[in-house]
């Protein structure tokens, strides 16, 4: 084992030999599934590197797309190791399996790594204390660790971690190191400034687009407007005349589930590549056989047709249909959410160098270096040992950069031109090529009996991400990524009769997860319909929910805190209204109260109050920041136009026709965090799902008109 550790340190280019320790045994593909950290084993592995010089390096295994993992992940190690983050260096993991799952996604970083990384930190601390005790000839129990040093109680004696790291590394790693009582945490749960922020305000932070390597050329990929078309012919005469253009070659865009033709314009600089692409004429041969509901009108027509028929049952308590048929007071409504683009400001890009010796090096803003490693190795047919992944910062992602078609493009170009190349998509590529959040319908049915909600049915309708992207959905089965969000276990409303069903509507419009995934779609239907049922039962929507959540104390607490902070019970003057919603996703509960008013220019969003119960968290300020981001993105999703396809191609192309929220559209935001010692939940996404329905409910309270289709006219 020691040789392996030496090897690792050498690979990192670090000097000296020391202790490295970490975790292993992570299950793969956990990004969007429920994580079970308790099953993760503790083994030697390099998450913590302590050099003889005293330098301490911690590994962040989750790429940072703005969600704060550069601070949050090493904090778990540092808390138990007894070091502060300003005395360590932080490096990004490279995708090797020894780091376990490295995918940022599904709001999984802190909740997934909570136990294993704390255990790794605690195990290293125990080994270092034991080494100091051996060195001094005292009992380990008489020593303690603090700020990167071991101290002997009742004496002036101390030794740095670096001084005892060699000795510590000869010990067995303790399998069950003692973890700190959360009440004793010094870092976790405390306000600490993110140490990566100064570089992000000085222009020094390195994003994917900033990668530069010697001999590199630049490429602009020209994609098929109808996504799936093949190339009939290329007229590149004008493109080749553009000064700086080096070559024009046919390549492929390899998506996870399909490959399509594309053309790359290779140039000496990015501008020449862009200019060359504009001068290029590609005659696309229509591959109409590959279009399936590739116009949004066809897709929605098929979806509304599906809403008239029963779906595939995902879960059912009681016989819903029997109750619904015989009920005297019942409601039914269909809610609609559009396709959405992620539209991060940094578009997709990747830099790839396939070297003469057969090794491959990648620099890219990607959500998962482990996935990138296996993808590149498979795509190029080289062993993983020959591939090196360098993860840069991500200039936003929201799910998009977990879908690494752009990385395959750079690989394909580099192998064809035998040079290092940077591929940069334009905003037009980003907006018009997909993948997108799938558009979805929620067919809602409910039964009211004696003023109470008795039976509830959520039929989810639309394309399955697992089905399209991973070919991972068998016919006539419900997608459990999707139905899990809608399950009674998740929403916890105590309906006597509860049913979840799913109807898949296929499309060839590429889809993938988007911030909060299906929760961003189905929060809309679920929480607006709960309000509809409340009004039908002649109950206040808050009281109605609390009545259904009597056995769900964390939900009740969140709603009560929201009511208090939003001053819910105080009536608003005429022309103003508020609405609420609550949704649980990624193991966290978030509720929102949206305040709206009538103005001469229509409805205005005045204020959003949000409450989140994410269990234990690392940095309260980052929880607030993520929730602010979720409110802003949630309002965009609710009020701005979605992505539409006509003539089998995307109608939108840039921020002028696919609008994201601007500064002046920002409402006043107040965020409150529930403090408790519950197991950590997600933070990066759960604040989003309640925003649209809280707004829809507010608009109903303002106008009396029930909106069921997004976007709303605000």
């Amino acid at each position: 084992m020691k040789n392996n550790r030496r090897e690792f340190i050498k690979n990192l280019g670090l000097t000296g030999i020391g202790l490295s320790i970490g975790i292993d045994g992570f299950s793969k593909n956990v990004a969007l599934k429920k994580l079970t950290p308790a099953t993760l084993a503790l083994e030697i592995n390099p998450f913590i590197i302590i050099e003889n010089s005293g330098k301490i390096t911690l590994v962040n295994s989750r790429p940072d797309m703005g969600q704060g993992s550069t601070q949050a992940v090493p904090s778990l190690l540092a808390e138990e190791l007894e070091v502060s983050l300003d005395q360590v260096s932080i490096i990004q993991s490279d995708g090797r399996s020894k780091y376990g799952s490295q995918q940022s996604g599904g709001s999984s970083s802190v909740r997934g790594l909570w136990m294993p990384l704390r255990q790794a930190g605690a195990a290293a601390k125990e080994m270092l204390i034991k080494a100091a005790a051996e060195k001094w000839g005292v009992n380990a129990a008489d020593c303690y660790a603090e700020a990167g040093k071991i101290f002997l109680k009742g004496s002036q004696k101390s030794v740095t971690y670096g001084e005892v790291a060699d000795l510590a590394s000869t010990y067995q790693v303790p399998k069950n190191p003692k973890l700190k009582d959360p009440k004793d945490f010094k870092i976790i749960g405390k306000y600490n400034k993110r140490l990566d922020v100064p570089d992000r305000v000085s222009g020094k932070a390195i994003y994917g687009i900033d990668a530069e390597i010697p001999g590199m050329v630049y490429a602009k990929v020209v994609h098929s407007p109808r996504i799936h078309d093949s190339i009939a012919s290329i007229d590149d005469a004008a493109a080749r005349k553009v000064v700086g253009v080096l070559d024009v070659i046919k390549i492929e865009r390899a998506m996870p589930h399909t490959k399509v033709d594309a053309v790359a314009v290779i140039a000496q600089n990015q501008w020449a590549a862009l200019k060359g692409a504009k001068a290029l004429t590609v005659n696309w041969k229509s591959e109409s056989g590959k279009y399936l509901n590739q116009n949004t009108s066809e897709y929605f027509e098929a979806a509304y047709e599906a809403a008239k028929k029963p779906g595939i049952r995902a879960e059912e308590k009681g016989d819903f249909d029997a109750h619904f048929e015989s009920a005297s007071t019942k409601l039914e409504a269909v809610y609609e959410t559009p396709f959405l683009a992620h539209a991060a400001i940094e578009s997709e890009n990747a830099t790839v160098h396939i070297k003469d010796d057969g090794t491959v090096e990648v620099w890219a803003p990607i959500q998962g270096p482990d996935g990138a490693l296996s993808q590149v190795a498979q795509y190029l047919g080289v062993p993983e040992e020959k591939v090196k992944i360098n993860v840069t910062l991500l200039g936003g992602s929201f799910g998009r950069k977990a879908y690494m078609d752009f990385l395959n493009e750079a690989c394909d170009i580099s192998r064809k031109i035998k040079k290092p190349v940077k591929v940069l998509w334009t905003k037009e590529d980003d907006i018009s090529q997909g993948p997108y959040r799938p558009a979805m319908l929620s067919r809602m049915q409910g039964v009211i009996e004696n003023g109470r909600a008795k039976a509830f049915h959520h039929q989810a309708i639309g394309e399955s991400i697992a089905g399209q992207v991973f070919n991972g959905l068998r016919p006539n089965t419900a997608d459990d990524w999707l139905s899990g969000e809608l399950s009674q276990e998740n929403h916890q409303y105590n309906f006597e009769v509860n049913k979840v069903s799913y109807s898949r509507v296929k499309t060839s419009i590429p889809v993938v997860w988007w911030r909060s995934v299906y929760a961003s779609n189905f929060g809309w239907g679920q929480e607006c319909f709960i309000d509809e049922m409340a009004h039908e039962a002649k109950k206040d929507p808050l009281e109605f929910r609390l009545g259904l959540l009597k056995n769900a104390p964390r939900f009740t607490n969140v709603l009560n805190l929201l009511a208090e902070k939003a001053d819910y019970k105080t009536p608003l003057p005429a022309g103003k209204a508020k609405g609420i919603a609550v949704f649980r996703s990624f193991d966290s509960i978030s509720a929102a109260c949206v305040f709206v008013s009538k103005t001469d220019n229509g409805i205005k969003i005045d204020k959003v109050v949000s409450v989140i119960d994410c269990g234990m968290f690392v940095n309260p300020d980052n929880v607030k920041a993520q929730t602010e981001g979720n409110i802003i993105m949630g309002i965009q999703a609710a009020t701005k136009g979605g992505i539409t396809f006509e003539n089998n191609q995307c109608v939108q192309s840039n921020y002028h026709d696919y609008q994201v929220l601007r500064n002046s559209e920002t409402p006043k935001m107040e965020i409150y965090i529930v403090e408790n010692y519950e197991r950590p939940g997600g933070v990066g996404e759960p604040g989003l799902p309640p925003i649209a329905p809280a707004l829809g409910n507010a608009i109903f309270n303002l106008t009396g008109k029930r909106e069921r289709k997004l976007p709303l006219g605000v």
């Binding site: 940072d64 797309m65 703005g66 969600q67 704060g68 400034k193 993110r194 922020v197 100064p198 570089d199 992000r200 305000v201 000085s202 222009g203 020094k204 932070a205 390195i206 994003y207 687009i209 530069e212 000064v243 700086g244 600089n269 990015q270 501008w271 020449a272 862009l274 200019k275 991060a344 400001i345 940094e346 578009s347 910062l393 991500l394 200039g395 936003g396 992602s397 929201f398 334009t426 905003k427 300020d621 920041a625 993520q626 602010e628 981001g629 979720n630 409110i631 802003i632 993105m633 840039n654 921020y655 002028h656 994201v660 929220l661 601007r662 500064n663 002046s664 920002t666 006043k668 935001m669």
Partner: protein, 153 residues
């Protein structure tokens, strides 16, 4: 190919480029100053904001041929020297950035605003910052940081 002597951050860069090359690419790829970001390429997002003679401009829409010989360009690297600008300090204090990709542009717009208006009100801040998109949604902190910075100047 034309040669341009570009004064960026008070240093002259000899840039050999086509005259229609937008300034953003000359700054990023030829002067190798990567702090200025490319976003939408259409002046919708403001990620590429730099100062031309003290005025904020979208460098993705400014061809090199349109620059006068005396043009002085300032990028995020230029305000950071030798220590952080008050706006950058305020950005750190408020913990504004999430991904941070748009923040060079946001900061350049804010610095330009505070140069001409030492104590902007809410409307003036919104008017100056409206062209800078932040997909992470950091606007509330941006506006607070501008107010804080105005007190430091």
């Amino acid at each position: 190919m034309p040669v341009f002597n570009l004064n960026i951050n008070n240093k002259v860069y000899k840039i050999t480029a086509e005259a229609d090359m937008p300034l953003v690419w000359a700054i990023r790829d030829l002067a190798n100053l990567k702090g200025t970001k490319f976003g939408c390429g259409m002046a919708h997002c403001g990620a590429c904001t730099v100062h031309l003679d003290g005025q904020p401009i979208r460098s993705c829409q400014m061809p090199l041929s349109a620059l006068s010989k005396k043009a002085k360009i300032t990028t995020i690297e230029g305000i950071a020297e030798p220590t952080l600008h008050a706006v950058q300090k305020a950005w750190i204090e408020e913990q504004v950035p999430q991904c941070g990709y748009c923040q060079s542009g946001q900061i350049m717009s804010a610095v330009a605003l505070l140069k001409t208006n030492k104590n902007p009100n809410d409307e003036e801040i919104l008017a100056a910052m409206e062209g800078n998109l932040c997909r992470c949604g950091t606007y509330q902190r941006i506006n607070q940081a501008i107010k804080n910075a105005s007190k430091m100047l």
